[in-house]
């Protein structure tokens, strides 16, 4: 499904690289821009990927600067709280996102979670555009249930690149993203819990601090050193032996 073409920003695309479909219109994903009438140019450097079935084309790129998009699941750090709003940081040196205090499962004016500066929450971005600060929610607005969102207690937070976060959030990380280090650690009998935010943050929690640190380091090393499947397996086995 993926064609291996590397593109740079502003490049003119070869029309044969774009998929065509008799019925569906061409869908542009992240990293591409349509300039009417006929031009489609990439805006980032990366690999041009296509999906013939959905007639979609996008650019797979890696970076460290997270740009909030509505619908993304993120890990936010509470900075401060004001009247009925928490101010949470999605990434350094960017404006804080606002999280309503009642936007948690079963929260009313009397019973709301008491979060202070430094607490972590797993939330979804509801509003994000270039003119305003982003907004989050920790409850699904349609069902009223948290569905996994809410405060994250204990554990440790690690920073990873956006590409790594995307790989970890794929439906099948082993096949689609070549990510086996976590599966291998689990197979070696290490018990842990993780949450991945699309803003390049991963939260790890397990029984001891040593285990948490080891798992976090494993993920960060896989990301930074670009370890392949075999190297990830070796790393996982080495860590599991020490624990």
């Amino acid at each position: 499904m993926a064609t291996e073409t590397f593109v740079l920003p502003g490049e003119t695309l070869d029309p044969t690289a774009l998929p065509s479909h008799p019925k569906l219109p061409l869908k542009l994903g992240p990293g591409l821009r349509h300039i009417p009438p006929n031009t489609i140019t990439p805006t980032v450097a990366g690999q041009l990927c296509t999906d013939k079935r959905k007639n979609a084309v996008w650019v797979e790129f890696n970076g460290s600067r997270y740009i909030p998009t509505a619908g993304d699941l993120v890990i936010a750090t509470i900075q401060k709280s004001s009247v009925d709003l928490y101010h949470a940081s999605l990434s350094d040196y960017t404006p804080n996102a606002s999280l309503p205090q009642l936007s948690f499962e079963g929260a009313t004016k009397k019973t709301r979670p008491q979060l202070t500066s430094g607490n972590l929450v797993y939330g979804r971005v509801t509003l994000a555009n270039k003119h305003m600060d982003p907004e989050l929610e920790c409850v699904s607005s349609s069902t009223g249930k948290s569905e996994g969102l809410g405060p994250l207690t204990g554990g440790m937070l690690f920073t990873i690149s956006l590409g790594m976060a995307r790989r970890m959030m794929l439906p099948k990380p082993v096949e689609q993203g070549n990510l086996v280090v976590l599966d291998e650690l689990g197979a070696q009998g290490v018990a842990f819990e993780i949450a991945v935010g699309r803003n390049g943050r991963v939260w790890v929690d397990s029984k001891t601090v040593k285990t948490t640190l080891a798992i976090g380091k494993a993920i960060v090393d896989t990301d930074e050193k670009g370890l392949g499947v075999e190297d990830q397996k070796k790393l996982a086995r080495k860590l599991a032996r020490d624990l």
């Binding site: 009417p36 606002s98 509003l127 555009n129 003119h131 305003m132 600060d133 907004e135």
Partner: protein, 216 residues
């Protein structure tokens, strides 16, 4: 002007209340008249009172002598410096006056605007105004989303509802003929309105939400 200086600075003592009447640009404090703004001092002599009535059978009480009025002109020349964010102009926005303004900043609770035109007069300096989220529409005020009503750079027709505080006038667009009159799309093209809540970009065909003013 023997006692009174020709140019006064804010806070300058102009004279006692027993000698002068306060006019625009001045204020009274502890029975003294002080200047409120920077500008040249003008003295308005009162009309001469009529002489005593020549009626020998009636005694009328003496009318107290009218005092000259001191006022300070708002200097429109470029040489004067304006201190506060409420700049200088000949005409000021009043309550219920229709103004044209440009949106400078949006937050979920309000939109900050710069007032450019009051009535039919284009202002020299810009006044800062606020349109709160509950003043955007007349109906369903709690469901209003600022991002779907205004964007930075839009030109908006609004009405002044309050003179506000030190830094902002308060405006409202809660009427059919108030709202966005000119908007630019994300792609940078001028858009034209297609309904009370949408503008359309003719070049890309994309629609954007705004609180649209009814064109007359």
């Amino acid at each position: 002007m023997a006692q009174v200086t020709s140019v006064a600075v804010p806070g300058q003592l102009l004279g006692p209340v027993s000698e002068y009447q306060p006019g625009p640009g001045t204020h009274v404090h502890n029975s003294n008249l002080y200047a409120s703004i920077l500008g040249p001092v003008r003295k308005l002599n009162p009309p001469k009172p009529a002489g005593p009535q020549k009626r020998l059978t009636k005694i009328t009480p003496a009318v107290p002598a009218a005092l000259p009025t001191l006022s300070i002109e708002r200097n429109i020349s470029a040489a004067s410096q304006d201190g506060g964010s409420k700049g200088k102009a000949e005409i000021l926005p009043e309550v219920n006056s229709t103004v044209l303004c440009r949106v400078t900043r949006i937050t979920p609770k309000q939109a900050q605007v710069a007032i450019l035109v009051v009535g039919e007069t284009v202002l020299d300096g810009e006044w800062q105004g606020l349109i709160r989220v509950q003043d955007v529409r007349a109906t369903e005020k709690d469901k209003v989303k600022i991002f779907e009503s205004f964007r930075p750079g839009d030109i908006v027709r609004a009405v002044v509802i309050s003179l506000g505080d030190q830094s902002n006038y308060y405006l409202a667009t809660a009427s059919n003929n108030l709202g966005v009159i000119m908007a630019t799309s994300e792609a940078g093209n001028a858009m034209y309105p297609i309904s009370w809540k949408e503008y359309k970009d003719p070049e890309t065909g994309a629609s954007e939400s705004r609180k649209v003013a009814k064109p007359f």
